[in-house]
Subunit: 245 residues, 2 copies
DNA sequence: CGCTACATTTGATCCGGGTCAAGGTTTGTC
DNA sequence: GACAAACCTTGACCCGGATCAAATGTAGCG
């Protein structure tokens, strides 16, 4: 359920099978816990465009994204829609204590999830305080990321919104030193739905950022950026955390 | 930290001293837990307009709002600001496992908090899985409410935003049958900062809703509404949960 | 009460991004 | 490789809400 965070998150590049990640340095799972998770896990895949869970529908599993990209969204009665979260590999889906999803969950690309049936997963939470506490930390991280997106939706210009989105994606998928490159996991329409814009505005802002040399577009779905600082300057960066009283 | 939720929340009208509420039917605290909470609690008050915690500053306590109203906000470097949460009586402040606040916390009116020092509160969480699990449920509720606000910020018109805000307030403070009445805990400026609007637009929309007979304004800070259904119709209500597949 | 400071409302104007309408590109299929 | 169906870009125009500017409350306070 983790939304794109501007800051590198502790949950990025984690284990895609274990919801308590990262597995590589998994201080949160002991062997018994991992074995218990392995026993109840089950892989499922969805095709791009398919709905995984409808808005308001029962959610009878928890899951970790293994490959692909899914979106969380909410809608108004007249069809207006807002994507409220992106799910990328290692992100978690699930609401311990809740039987239904308040959001639609849709496959933006082909998606594979590692799912855990509700009952045994919640039983595991009861038995493993460390897993429960890790889940709380993840939820709080997600809350912070969601509120950061509120600032974007409420106060940023179209150009800043697009720059922020690209920067978040590049930061999340960046490997090694620049120039950075990433494939957009969303169509223009989905990007617009995520940023509170229209598809035309997203397209115009991408073109404008390219013409201004801030980013490169390599085909429709690939973005490059040689200078993340420059992109950050376009994103209306938030107050630095270092501004302590 | 609970944001206004459109739906009556399980955390509304709870105990203002105990972060694991509601106290009256407190299935979550046993006597030992309440005694432990009582032992570490400490009341503090702030005047309207004072900053309780700066953005990015250390947050060395958890707390429950006893009286008054506080805001959570994030800012951009150039001063643009977005309120990302309202704190009303019984709402909780705190980030177990995190040493600093990503948001500014400010007193919108005179505020009294029931605070718990960080270390003993976290120790209590370790010892009481029920409190920890309750905290997780509260965080997930808050995440839902925050995402609902994202839909408002990204997709609703100015009139719908103001109607949604008033409806949430009236729902939260409503007592008995109508006509409903509530005091606005925020100034026009703060409402604008919460809704992603300007102060002038908020004022115009309030005037317009009053002229159309949807609400009444009794002085600057008191709102009345005889027909919440009507107000709901103005708020661009979300898809009903009953729309299950 | 009258004065000051501030909050709110109202009016006039402007502009960023939405809407509508083509036109161009990419992808998939046979 | 031709065709269709999406998807994306670009242009022209418009409108909701921002901005700028007064005017009008309203709340302290001597």
């Amino acid at each position: 359920m983790k939304l794109q965070s501007i800051r590198p998150s502790t949950t990025v590049n984690g284990c895609t099978d274990c919801p308590i990640r990262p597995r590589a340095v998994c201080a949160h799972c002991n062997d018994a816990e991992l074995v218990a998770l392995d026993r109840i896990k089950h892989y499922k895949t969805w095709k791009a465009g398919e709905t995984i869970v409808h808005e308001g529908a029962p959610l009878d599993f928890a899951a970790s994204v293994v490959t692909g990209c899914a979106t969380l969204s909410r809608s108004l009665e007249d069809g207006r829609r807002q994507i409220v979260g992106l799910l990328l590999p290692s992100d978690f889906i699930g609401r311990p204590g809740r039987a239904r999803s308040e959001h639609a969950i849709e496959a933006a690309s082909d998606v594979t999830l590692c799912t855990f049936r509700r009952a045994p997963f919640e039983a595991l939470l009861q038995e493993s305080p460390r897993i429960a506490s890790r889940l709380l930390a993840m939820s709080l991280d997600e809350l912070d990321a969601t509120r950061e997106w509120m600032l974007l939706l409420g106060r940023k210009t179209a150009r800043e919104k697009v720059a922020t989105f690209l920067l978040a994606l590049l930061r999340r998928t960046a490997t090694g030193p620049g120039p950075y490159r990433t494939d957009l996991p969303l169509s223009r329409e989905e990007i617009a739905t995520f940023l509170g814009l229209t598809i035309e505005t997203v397209s115009r802002q991408l073109t404008s950022l390219r013409k201004d040399g801030v980013i490169g577009l390599d085909g429709l779905r690939t973005v490059t950026c040689a200078d993340l600082q420059r992109l950050g300057a376009e994103s209306g960066a938030e107050v630095a955390e270092a501004l302590l009283p």
